[in-house]
Symmetry: C2
Subunit: 528 residues, 2 copies
């Protein structure tokens, strides 16, 4: 075995772990990194290929490495199984070829649940089976704002309920966000004199640090690989196809080993007028091939929906300005895609003179709840104008709105909900009902302000859970989703069949309500 | 050339045409039929293949023929181009091989517009360019009810606004519809002793006659090839794959030359528990290959949406019990599929003790209008119980409901609308607005009962038509969609920009309304 600089890139949670002396060790779903020294002349980004084969028993994972500048090459591996692994490098450069080693993967620490996967068709769970209920927000360009603002953004996120962040790899140029980034992804000189064959490792090192910062906070990084907010200013939105593909391979080699990475092929893909839909299909193919861990892949639309039925798309990432105004709209996307539906953009809380950017906090929280009872997930964004031009949606910084506190309340509700997720109960008749029949129901009353709610459970349609049945007992709570209160209703409700399609309380009880909007009812079955 | 019995199957409109003496002639999109005599022993259905190649200049269309019993073979051709055509037969039976002939295709008569095709992405037009705006109804088993009832159904249809009929090839057995059909599609004995390798030509001859009866009425036959309303009683819902495929080839050879045929692969495909989705994909491939004219192909769902993005699907045929309660729901399917959306089942007007079969007429008409302004098409069905057990939705007969008259009114509105169809105007903000900006707007107020309507046009989003502009002039009409009245509003409305997203009348005019539900506003641009 050649001498190679090999480090166990443990990630934050393992730092304090006691490891057997002399053993190289990394936790499951952590990062094991091979660092090698090789050619620094010519153009290593295109001339040198390096990879490693990681083997455990009958399992072999081939992982591409990347050039990190100054003669340094790295191969990063996220082990998905505990136990002993061996590895060997392959390269067209003799200095990099044929290195080998052994290391041990120990069980994940308490805050490492692995990458997020699709679960129960419409929902998500970490690789270790822990449910993951996305509650995302958006700071497109937060990693290009300099250390002070980026630290402020991280502090805000740490105190927020959000567990997913949509963020761009490339810098962003758009209204209220026209500052140049501190550095650029390619060698060359701003704004358009780039060598697309030479990456700027420092740019990506910084991006990686920020993704790991998010990982420490338990936040998934929804990494947006392409976007139109460039308009040719830098030209990263209109690179030649070969440059696009090389960039994807480079980014995948650098980032795929981070467990909290999700791939978003593009933001508003259809606003990238220099690209065709077939380009994004090709990108999906490259990611599928290059990412050994098969992180989640999505693509976000402007006006034109992408074909989310394509097999490489793991979940539908949707911009729609009106779908989550109504649970009956939101759930239709579940029906057509049969995948998790994440409404990553539903207009933003804010006061911009744009109709996509001036929802009230009440309206945005309302939309989250409509989407929730529809069995979908909704994303947050905030666009309040301020003198310093720091708008959360683009740059991060501080949250100014009233919705995050209410979304923290929603997050508590989601965390308390069944692991299988919330599904529509009787979608063609009662879209306000979500849950897991017959054990858990969440009924959202939205903008209605009734003085009481008749206890009523619809018969679920075929195949959507077990039917409710005579005599089953439930506890009830009244949730004020705006004022963030949970009020238990005394006693129990006992099911009595009213007709073929509904059950009511045996004693005909109703639940009193305060006559305010944004109320929800939570019912839990009691077994005894 | 061998002697062959060849007839020009002219269809009803050409019967009275004067043709050059001695010439064989058929109108464009009519049926030219080659009749041949061949083997009558063994099993001609599986042992004999016959086809013909029809040639005009560089165009060659290969058409499969079929065995029609008693030694008779037919090859039916629907010419899509006028002028001289020649043909030659191919067969593995010597008696059927190598026949040839010539005929002339003359321009279509005034009631022959050719088959319906997709037009303007979300709409339909006949092959000659005439817009086709589907207004369909459903009589699943009407062709299996005997001559008297079938004649009554045709008379009802003739007096109705409907221009599309959903109907099954196979007999149907379901609640309120358990009578045996007069004949069966296969040789054998009821109810389950069938020889799936031998068709019953009389069954299909009868079906063809009914399809031609519909053609005479200007009604498209939405032919449902498979359905679950059998449950093994006959077993046509669970034939072996080879029988399914043979049946599809036979039906295609028999029916494809009729211009008013649409293919519906199945009704409630997902309720056919013996079939997999991949079976229906295979069926779509067979139809695509066997139908030389590429009639419209769709598939209708029960609970589980089919993947209508698949290329062989020409339009989304959707059952959904709630989507057309709201234009903002309905249009989402356009976004997702980028094909015409036909809500072929939205629950029915009737009084069945089933929640899918007891809409009021008002509710059904309301749903048609919501679907219409969303740029989609809605289908009718009627399920009124009566002592004779003749329910329109299954058997045909007489219409008893109140919706058809209102749908005739809607049809007038559709016929008056732009040839390009009605598209959403500003879907994320104003789903009640349909039309073709800036020339035509249809605004449906649904269940609202306002006393007036402020004249207001939203700015259309990018790419959805031309924007309205300052100074444009419009006439307005108030449509009472239930009472079927059109009331012109005096004077003209002149556009004045109010803000970035809306135009109002220069003089701030509003339109007075009667305070009743189900009102619509129609605006037409005046050029002067």
């Amino acid at each position: 075995m050649k001498l190679a600089g090999v480090i166990g890139y443990l990630g934050w949670m393992l730092v304090a772990m006691a490891l057997p002396a002399g053993a190289e060790s990394v936790e499951q779903w952590g990062v094991y990194e091979i660092k090698l020294t090789g050619p620094a002349t010519g153009n290593p980004f295109v001339e040198v290929q390096v990879a490693a084969e990681f083997t455990q028993g009958g399992t072999m994972v081939r992982v591409n490495g990347f050039y990190d500048g100054e003669g340094v090459y790295r191969v990063r591996f996220m082990p998905e199984k505990t136990g002993e692994w061996t590895w060997q490098t392959r390269s067209n450069a003799r200095e990099l070829d044929g290195h080998c080693g052994t290391f041990t993967v120990v069980p994940a620490g308490p805050h490492d649940h692995g990458p997020v996967r699709v679960a129960h068709t419409y929902h998500f769970a970490y690789a270790d089976g822990t449910p993951y209920k996305p509650l995302g927000t958006t700071c497109y360009a937060w990693t290009q704002q300099g250390p002070e603002l980026e630290a402020a953004t991280l502090a805000t996120l740490a105190a927020s309920p959000f567990n997913k962040l949509r963020m761009c790899v490339f810098p962003k140029r758009y209204d209220w966000n026209t500052n140049e980034p501190p550095q650029y992804p390619f060698a060359g000189t701003p704004t358009t004199n780039w060598d697309f064959t030479r990456f700027n490792p420092a740019y990506f090192q910084h991006l990686e640090q920020r993704i790991l910062d998010l990982q420490k906070l338990g936040i998934e990084a929804d990494v947006i690989l392409f976007h139109p907010y460039d308009g040719g200013h830098w030209g990263f939105d209109r690179m030649p196809a070969a440059a696009d593909d090389r960039y994807l391979r480079y980014v995948t080699a650098r980032l795929a080993a981070f467990r909290n990475v999700w791939w978003s092929l593009a933001n508003e893909y259809d606003f990238m007028k220099e690209k065709k839909e077939s380009d994004f299909v090709r990108f999906g193919g490259i990611l599928t091939q290059e990412d050994p861990y098969h992180h989640l892949i999505s693509i976000h639309n402007g006006q034109l929906m992408f074909n989310h039925t394509l097999p490489f798309i793991t979940h539908a990432s949707i911009q729609n300005g009106s779908a989550v105004e109504d649970a009956g709209r939101a759930e239709l996307f579940r029906d057509v895609y049969r995948k998790p539906v994440v409404f990553d953009e539903v207009k933003y809380e804010g006061n911009l003179p744009r109709r996509w950017g001036n929802l009230s906090a009440e309206e945005l929280v309302f939309r989250f709840w409509e989407g929730t009872v529809a069995g979908t997930y909704v994303g947050h964004g905030e666009t309040y104008l301020s003198p310093d031009n720091i708008i959360w949606w683009s740059k991060g910084g501080a949250l100014k709105g009233q919705s995050p506190a209410r979304l923290a309340f929603l997050k508590q509700v989601l965390d308390d909900a069944p692991a299988e997720g919330i599904d529509p109960i009787d979608k063609w008749q009662s879209p306000a009902y979500g849950g897991q029949a017959p054990n858990y129901y969440l009924i959202y009353l939205g903008k209605q302000t009734p003085a009481s709610w008749e206890f009523l459970l619809p018969k679920p349609p075929l195949g959507a859970g077990q039917p409710a049945a005579e005599g089953m007992q439930f506890t009830a709570e009244v949730l004020d989703t705006w004022n963030m209160t949970v009020t238990p209703v005394p006693g129990r409700f006992v099911l009595h069949k009213r007709d073929n399609y509904s059950y009511v309380d045996r004693d005909g009880r109703a639940i009193e309500l305060p006559g305010r909007p944004y109320m929800a009812i939570r019912l839990k079955r009691v077994n005894d």
